[in-house]
């Protein structure tokens, strides 16, 4: 059993509008047999935080195109993407890229 994991989950660039406009969420993920990774975090977010129109955030098992995922202020590409194993106190930021000018 993996211990519960506490995270700061943040949304920005407009992605927060899918979460009642709240940018910062303190999240505690429950114990589960396998370690938490970003893939399972996304499922958890879909079930627990995302109230409506999940297709604006999730596509398949990943985020939709145009959303950057940042783990502790670094691009998730550098960290293993969906397979990154979450550590207690990690900061995970989902940022919608902006196109206005």
């Amino acid at each position: 059993m993996a211990a519960p994991v506490s995270l700061q989950v943040e949304f920005g660039g407009g992605a927060e509008l899918l979460f009642d406009g709240v940018k910062k969420h303190q999240v505690t993920l429950p114990c589960q047999p396998e370690p938490w990774d970003i893939r399972s975090l996304l499922k958890w977010i879909k079930q627990n935080l995302l109230k409506e129109r999940p297709e604006l955030f999730i596509q398949g098992e990943s985020v939709r195109p145009g959303i950057l995922v940042l783990i502790n202020e670094a691009d998730w590409e550098l960290m293993g993407e969906l397979d990154y194993k979450l550590q207690d106190q990690d900061n995970v930021l989902f940022i919608s890229t902006l196109h206005g000018g």
């Binding site: 195109p65 550098l78 000018g101």
Partner: protein, 282 residues
């Protein structure tokens, strides 16, 4: 690039004296600025402050691209255009305002949208490109053109109370497609007309773009190669995010690119580059 010069005139030394004394710039950096040309794609909320500070600093030539005309709702953030310019092409309005500030800079207004057919020829004529556009197809077009022409791209964007900045295709770093291989679904994209934007947020990001252009042009290098600046105006908070390197499998800047000439970006993105109402009616 513009012809190299070996010395500044007495008038230039007076005019730029406050920046010539900076050891990081100096006469050498100023001469580099004077022979640099910068293409500004979009003369709106980001392009206005950007062009203003590039002109003031004495870059050699500014290309100013915008297909649109000045409207009343622009004046809340597009500070080069005055009330009397409403209905006039933004590219020309910007050039006129900039000429009053620094008549020694060459201004080349282009009253047209950047188009796949002509973008590459245009981008090749400039040393650095600033993406100050306001829509997804243009962002892919500008980035692909910069990769094909081998030019650094200083890209800014703003919406509501947030802003973002990245320097692409610079010193081996990633391009826009490395970060965003697929365009966002059209109905997830919010523009400034729908989402709104606080004018001074475009001011802050446009000034930051101008800073990075000046650092690149003068030889100081950029802080935002492989890094994104994220700004939250409500919190007054800036973050520097470390980004991925260039991707070997990128469709345009990768080791075996599949994109070797410019495409139909409106079809690729499912949205228009010039409509006020962005969704393509397919």
């Amino acid at each position: 690039p513009l012809p190299a010069r070996s010395a500044l005139s007495a008038a230039e030394i007076l005019r730029y004296s406050r920046q010539l004394v900076l050891p990081e710039l100096g006469v050498r950096g100023q001469l580099r600025l004077a022979r640099s040309s910068v293409l500004v794609v979009g003369c709106g909320g980001l392009g206005c402050p950007l062009a203003q500070y590039l002109a003031a600093a004495g870059v050699g030539r500014l290309g100013l691209v915008d297909h649109d005309v000045v409207e009343t709702s622009n004046l809340q953030r597009q500070v080069l255009h005055g009330e009397a310019r409403r209905g006039r092409p933004k590219a020309r309005s910007a050039a006129a305002a900039l000429r009053r500030l620094n008549s020694a800079v060459q201004y080349v207004p282009y009253r047209a949208a950047l188009r796949p057919r002509s973008a590459l020829r245009l981008v090749r004529q400039y040393d650095i490109v600033a993406d100050c556009s306001d829509n997804v197809p243009t962002r892919y077009l500008v980035s692909d053109a910069c990769v094909l022409a081998g030019k650094p791209l200083v890209s800014g964007s703003a919406l509501r109370l947030e802003g973002q900045l990245v320097v692409y295709n610079y010193r081996g770093g990633p391009c826009y497609r490395c970060l965003f291989p697929e365009p966002p679904p059209p109905d997830t994209v919010t523009n400034c007309a729908d989402g709104g934007v606080l004018g001074v947020v475009t001011g802050i990001i446009g000034c930051m773009q101008a800073l990075e252009v000046l650092k690149i042009a003068s030889g100081m290098g950029s802080s935002f190669n492989r890094h994104m600046l994220m700004f939250d105006a409500l919190e007054g908070r800036f973050r520097n995010i470390k980004l991925r390197p260039r991707k070997a499998d990128c469709a345009v800047c990768g080791d075996r690119p599949s994109i070797t000439c410019l495409q139909d970006y409106e079809a690729f993105c499912g949205s228009s580059a010039t409509d006020k109402c962005r969704s393509l009616r397919l």
